[in-house]
């Protein structure tokens, strides 16, 4: 099925993600600053359990059923993603109204945004639970977006499997948005084309890890080719099997994998520690990552204990990433050393 010779992938360790959104902002300032792109966040981080971005995306369809048939999908609206709210800075700072005016959001009060349910989570105090889920385009092996496009306007690069919207071919039909079960495609209402995460291919082409990965202060993200047995991606996904795709049942074979969250101890009705009930319900994690998530968690816990007792564990050492550059599967070139097209020439 995969027409690409090699496939780039990312592993995100949810036990290290602190929800700081540096990835989100790094991506924003690099790619989606233009007019028409204000509401776009190719990279998002949401608090789970939660409704995420766009609101309720897991119930919006798309992808494939167990037989490989395309599933009807919903086109997410800007409201569901969250609009790029405008603020009346001028009026607030210079409008002469004193305390009577405040830095309000212009227009109708919003009801959703890209990170609206931040830090809310679920469960009843004290057994509340949540964790952070960063998402980019999954650069799927079986990309529902590409397969949905009646214009063949989505490219999957032969050399590394990066999926991009061919904005020259795209006519804004938005079948890709409906088909992507992860709802990671946005629509540019000015240019009338779909736009999405490009796995920072201009950086990749220069040996530089994507901005979201290289700028992640939590050191959450591993980057590299899936088939490189020396690099962390292969070890985490294939060898140790602790990194799992999100919603594998969507049938698109994502190339972003997650190390599942371990979660703190929970309490019984008296407030004493309840060792038998995980704080994050297994059923919830299974719903996200499939049943093998329990094996992954068991492996993580066993290796953590081994590291504690003996000081040795290949898996824990990988996840610790003593040397940050080792996370990037060779895509560790310093961007400031890369010579790209000069802005002055480009403008």
């Amino acid at each position: 099925m995969n027409t690409s010779k090699r496939q780039l992938a990312m592993v995100m360790d949810l036990n290290k993600c602190i929800g700081c959104q540096t990835c989100t902002v790094a991506c924003k300032t690099l790619w989606t600053g233009d007019e028409g792109m204000e509401h776009m966040w190719f990279n998002t981080v949401n608090t789970l359990p939660g409704k995420g971005t766009p609101h309720g995306w897991e119930d919006m369809g798309g992808g494939f059923d167990a037989e490989g048939n395309a599933v009807v999908g919903h086109i997410p609206s800007r409201k569901e993603f969250g609009e790029a709210w405008k603020f009346d800075h001028e009026g607030s700072y210079y409008g002469g109204k004193g305390d009577a005016s405040h830095l309000a959001i212009a227009g109708e009060p919003p009801t959703w945004g890209p990170n609206w349910d931040e830090d809310q989570g679920e469960g009843e105090f004290p057994n509340t639970h949540y964790f952070y889920m960063p998402r980019i385009c999954n650069h799927c092996t079986h990309p529902a977006c590409k397969e949905a496009c009646p214009r063949d306007a989505i490219d999957k690069r032969e050399e590394d499997g990066i999926v991009t919207v061919n904005e020259d071919r795209c006519r804004g039909y938005r079948f890709c948005q409906a088909a992507c079960p992860y709802k990671k495609i946005y629509f540019n209402h000015q240019k009338k084309v779909s736009q999405k995460c490009l796995f920072c291919f201009p950086r990749i082409d220069n040996g530089v890890a994507p901005a979201c990965a290289r700028q992640c202060p939590g050191r959450v993200r591993f980057v590299g080719y899936r088939d490189d047995p020396e690099a962390p991606i292969w070890k985490l996904v294939e060898k140790w099997k602790v990194a799992l795709p999100l919603h594998p049942e969507y049938g698109t074979e994502p190339n972003v994998f997650y190390v599942p969250p371990i979660g703190p101890l929970s309490f019984d009705q008296d407030g004493d520690i309840d060792e038998s009930t995980p704080r994050i319900p297994d059923a919830y994690l299974i719903r996200l990552f499939g049943p093998s998530v329990l094996d992954a968690l068991a492996t993580l816990k066993a290796e953590r204990e081994k590291k504690r007792a003996t000081g040795e564990s290949e898996l824990m050492d990988l996840l610790i990433a003593y040397e940050w550059k080792d996370m990037f599967g060779g895509f560790d070139t310093d961007p400031s050393t890369v010579s790209v097209v000069k802005w002055t020439n480009a403008s």
Partner: protein, 954 residues
Amino acid sequence: MQSIHATRRAFLRGTAIGALGLALDLKTLRPVFADARLPPEAREYTGYRDVYRRKWSWDRIGVGTHSCTNCASGGCSWNLYVRDGIVWREEQGAPYTQTNASVPDYNPRGCQKGASASALYRSPARIRYPLKRVGARGENRWKRISWDEAFDEIAAQLVDTLSTRGGVGGYCENGNNSDFGPSWIAMVRFFNQLGMPITENFASTGDLMTGATLVLGNPVPGGSSDDWFRSDYFVNWFGNPMSTRIPDAHFITEMRYRGGKYVSVTPDFNPSAIHTDLWIGVRPGTDAALALAACRVIIDEDLHDVPYIIEQTDLPLLIREDTRQFLRESDVIEGGRRECFAWWDGRKRAVVWSASSAQFEQDKRTLKLGPDDQVELEPRNARVTLLSGETVKLSSAFTLLRRNLEDYDANSAARITGVHANVIRRFAREFANAKAAKIYMGAAAGKILHGELVQRATILMCALTGNNGRVGGGWEEMTFWELDGKILSAFHDFPSDLVPGDMNTIYPALMGMGAQQAASPAFISGSLLMLLNGGTYAEQLNPAYNDPTLRRTPEEFLKEGIAKGELHNVPGEELGSPDVIFNMFGNPFRHRRMGERLGRTLFAKARLVVDLTLRMDDTARHSDILLPTAGPYEKLGFKYSVSYPPYLHLADKAVEPLGEAKSDWEILSLLMQRVEAEARRRGVRTVKTYRGVEYDLSQAYWRFSDKGRIGPHEDEKFMRLILALSPATQGITMEELRANKGVMRYTGVSQMGKMWCGTSDYRPDEPLVPYQDYVVRKMPWPTSTGRQQFYVDHAIYVEVGETLPVHKQPPRSGGDFPLVMTCGHTRWSVHTLWRDVDILLRLQRGEPVIFVNPDDAARRGLADHDYAAVHNDLGEFVARVKLTPGMQPGQVHIFHAWLATQHVGGRASDAITPSPTRVTNFAGKHGHMVNEVGWFDLSGNDRDTRVDLRKYTA
């Protein structure tokens, strides 16, 4: 499986269309063509790729960081990508080399604020030209003026005031968004040379850990954050490092993968709880009870480290049972030393004066015990005969502690804290049994009324278990990597006279700073200024908002402290009527509790309020002239330096200032030239400083500019002076820094002694662990007893029952309301900076929110995102409700530093936080407990504030 596209093409080309019989027979009907050429089929479109390639392009790359930002993470290296003279984007430089192979490296320090700093620095809030108010204060009506107009008006007003009232006629409000370079130096030199005081707000914001000052002789002890990785039991207490220490948080998550456990003690299930092994949801403000119960378990179960306690703490020292005071040498020997304390020798059956005592013979001072010493930790029947001839019974502090802990059995503590007794026991045992246990204390521990007690109780846990000074262990908050050269450049009259690198001139100069500071106006207590002159007196001293067990009113304690002269730097009544107020590096309308009252008090009295500011904020709105300061990418500076990353960070000037903005050094240089010129024009010479010392105003610029050697555009000279005069940066040059992405590892630590991180020898290839001087080298701690000092015998502490750490119920601050409003630093801003940046607001809810437990909200008829009026005795503010099941029932939480202008109604949460005074903060002149700024000062607080919520409709 076959490609869908292949299938589709075959389908189109042949069978399906044929089967549908749609092939056109045009025998009778023929189209005519202007051109029968086919359009190019399936054009190869690749132009879009070039569009994205061009997006990732730049003219050049600068290096820098966010120098004038009170970001306590301590610095991050950024590459600044410049297009057409504007920083359009920044990305971490990530130049940090691993300390050694056993710990993860520091890359790629940074956070979302840093990654959007260029958006802040060119945001609509940025002041681009000097502005003069044309409406009423706070009304937001302005006109653009020239720098000349601004300087002329300000200089005239300054000379008016200085020539009539002297330095007492005005002051500078100083916030914490300063650098460790020319900007801060500019402020200190300017006001110091003019003889006007500057407020110090470390305590006013509640960052000053007076409990740590008492116990450790260091208000903010700490080490480097890679030492966190080496912990076996990392306890976050009161903090939220996953949100507030973003660049360092990975050392915690990676510590877990090393096999260490991570525990968090906070009332709500906050972002730092989610990655824990155990989260302890203590009732707000009951933390001391939890810590003391843990201490009780540790001692009861013999998990305490007796040799460490005997050597390193005051717990074996003797207390007189009659007075509850330490036994002092002066009690028993004629002419004996007051700061000399004793332990009981079990062999000699007699008191022995501890060689650690502050007034012990200086050359013999040590924590090391002699081979024959037999310190009894809990002597029975210890007695001593006083000078009076009277014999008194003595108990060790440890005996009193044991007695004290009787109140804190696990079951009693469970009732106070809401934490199950088994959880308390398990926590205590795990803590004590860990190879290295660390308590990372959040700054919020300074921001409740009884935070001092929480600090003392939690440090006690570390001391009982011998963790203070252990690799990967010990109590820490946040400390500075002080650059002594910065202090010298600011306070020394002529720093260029010092010989760079020659410690023989540098050390005496540094030692002389103390005396010079005492004579110069320098810093006054911002919290005392606010209390006495800011219009908050009644609320801050309201007994109903304070500890109900006090037998006197807080005001009586204050008056006593002033009368006895125990409070230093008390801003008197005269300063309460300033003619001129400057504001730099901060937003006191926000950072002071009830700060908005400045508009009715100090600001209302001033003829002229000048704000040197990056952007419009609550204080700027209430000022008269706004002077636009250059942003960190537009001027030279060193990042405010914190020990978590042991690296010096250069903020280089990457681009020209926006609009007409100027660096702080240039602004104040030019202004000082005008002041001098105006003084000469008027023939004004001798004027008096705030402290009454006479000086020559007509020479002000000559002195300010270091005899004219450092001109308005020569701020780089200060950068070089700092490097050359700081023990932490010996051997580092500007050239090397620039070649190393503006980042180099420190080469040493400050020699400023008792404070900050200089409590250990520093090795560049090892994480910094505090307290090595005391624990390894056995030098006495910088306390009266020379030990970690848990017993405080100042009369106030005896009176209020706090000679040893105890738990006191949180006060009803703001009135008898059912909800406790906690507060904390947010991941989304550095105080008010970044609060109003659009792209970050869009990642929140765009306006202020208050986190509420769903049950508490439901009981008040509040739904998610409703506006709530949050109210108490002091009034109300309005915020959106955010339903959060992780909030403890009875607790509501608002992250700090929303600008007042972001709230409906123009009031922020600070307006209703009365910050009751902690009466022990009025103590002083007692051994190392000296009441002075940055050491032991009146601490602001807000996290006991009681409120209720009701639905708000406009």
